[in-house]
Symmetry: C2
Subunit: 313 residues, 2 copies
């Protein structure tokens, strides 16, 4: 099994990515190889500099880089030899089992849609985020920003997709699916959430527990939190700001420490034909390591195929 990393992606790449790969390499099970994509001279230089000589690290040359601020579509068409399109190329050919990058988020998103493409039958791929639960583990929240405006059937599919993710990647047998809303009663909410609620109610294949509220993100009510990408994005960034404010005040707590983006390290794009994870631009080596371990878990679970089998057409 091979997990590919965009070694050039992220504000602190290639130092952070190469160091992170070094950390991950020590934790990988036998038979798993990391593939670092980027300028081979640069990467080899960094591997040497940081004294990383794990045999489960390979380098795959990509001569170009898409910068953080570049326009995704333009950059992808103008720089086919950059690490992101090269990574998607490997993923498409089945030469790697997952591809992760802390680089240009838009390029990762567009690259996924146009290279490995949306699974047939999936209306809109989305990005999943993770909410640390007080009782342990993480809840899956989808979408967290790929789709600002959603239709009811898109929300319903997010519930199906994220439910499969919680089941196969987080090993929760019957994930409880909650619809983010402003009240528990089914007639509450926007026209969107009211209509989505009815779709969820009719779907007996899901463990739909009804509406949840902003106060339920961290409790045990739901393992899967369904919302449009606008709401999910506000939630995710607000949770990040809480963690930052705790850090500023030097408040340490084992639970709140799991709000650190580094704890999970990345957000998967779900609904495309491959396992893709996007990391935070500021990713540290620790974050890169955890993003790689998450990518491995997704590859082991074959999550994109599970989604294709169960929801695709």
């Amino acid at each position: 099994m091979k997990i590919a990393l965009d070694a050039m992606g992220g504000d602190f790449a290639p130092d952070s990515t190469v160091k992170g790969a070094g950390l991950a390499a020590k934790e990988l099970p036998e038979g798993v190889t990391l593939v670092l994509i980027g300028d081979e001279n640069v990467i080899n230089g960094k591997l040497e500099e940081f004294n990383i000589n794990e045999s489960n690290i390979e380098v795959f040359h990509a001569s170009d880089v898409i910068d953080m601020g570049e326009h995704p579509t333009k950059a992808l068409s103008q720089k086919p030899e950059a690490s992101i399109p090269v990574g998607f190329g490997l993923l498409k050919k089945g030469l790697v089992n997952a591809f992760a990058s802390a680089g240009n988020t838009g390029a990762m998103h567009v690259g996924a849609m146009f290279t490995i493409k949306t699974i047939e039958g999936i209306i809109r791929p989305g990005i999943a985020g993770f909410m640390p639960k007080e009782a342990g583990g993480f809840g899956v929240i989808m979408d967290v920003g790929a789709n600002a405006d959603c239709k009811p059937d898109v929300l319903h599919q997010f519930g199906q997709i994220a439910s499969l993710y919680a089941k196969h990647v987080f090993e929760i047998e019957k994930p409880k699916v909650g619809l983010m809303n402003l009240g528990e009663e089914e007639q509450k909410g926007t026209l969107l959430t009211q209509a989505a609620h009815q779709l969820f109610k009719l779907d007996k294949s899901l463990n739909f527990i009804g509406n949840i509220e902003g106060r339920d993100l961290f409790n045990d009510k739901a393992d899967v939190i369904v919302c449009d990408g606008f709401t999910g994005n506000v939630i995710l960034k607000m949770a990040e700001s809480f963690f930052d404010m705790l850090q500023t005040r030097n408040i340490k707590d084992p639970y709140f420490d799991r709000f650190n983006y580094e704890a999970i390290g990345g957000s998967p794009i779900l609904g495309v034909n491959g396992n893709v994870v996007i990391g935070h631009g500021v990713s540290s080596p620790e974050a890169i390591k955890n993003m790689l371990l998450l990518s491995l878990k997704m590859a082991e679970a074959n999550i994109h195929l599970k989604i294709k089998e169960k929801i695709g057409e």
Copy 2:
């Protein structure tokens, strides 16, 4: 000046309300009277029981009570002698300058709309919430739940209304108005926020600073945060849950203590012909006290008239 309190409203009323009024009475400037609305025998009994004999507390009899779980419209039509409709009656006649209740939120909302009514020219009244700012003070966020689905012109008006509130009640000279969004760039977001952004850009009477994100709720970017009631409600409840989780872990911090709903005590309904504040059902005496002081501030600022003059037709 008279500030009316629904003495029968709230999970712990009349104990919490009478005690809270007693606390507030000690802090009121000369010339301000509290009017406790409800069963006069019950209220007088409680005033005696708690040894409250402030001369700036009056009792106004209301023979009935709308319970927390009652259907607002039905209850208001069937119980005209209940404390909530009696309170709105006094407000409408100008016999009190503000009316606050921690009772049935729906009845307060519907009562406001049908008794004192929406200010002409206001498309939709909304409910404002408050976000403790790291730099001190509170940001005003509107709407926090009255209007789940909003049109762009409604968001624009929320910005105007909340801006007047920040100016006249919180005494911020040129309140910075931010539009809650998932990215800073003006083309980002939902169709709603994209369109609203353009309306704000055209309105030179506001100090519009552009889009803000979920991470900006507590920093100094905006004094006024504009969003639809769905988003605002999720934000408000999520912030409450953070405070609760900190409490559970016994983490005390002067900044985070201001996340306690008691610190402000209530949420104003803005855009109606009178000063109305809704409190949390679980309101403690401290929360009731602060809700009354907030109501007084609103009455002193004559905020409903400011809104009528500046935005109404």
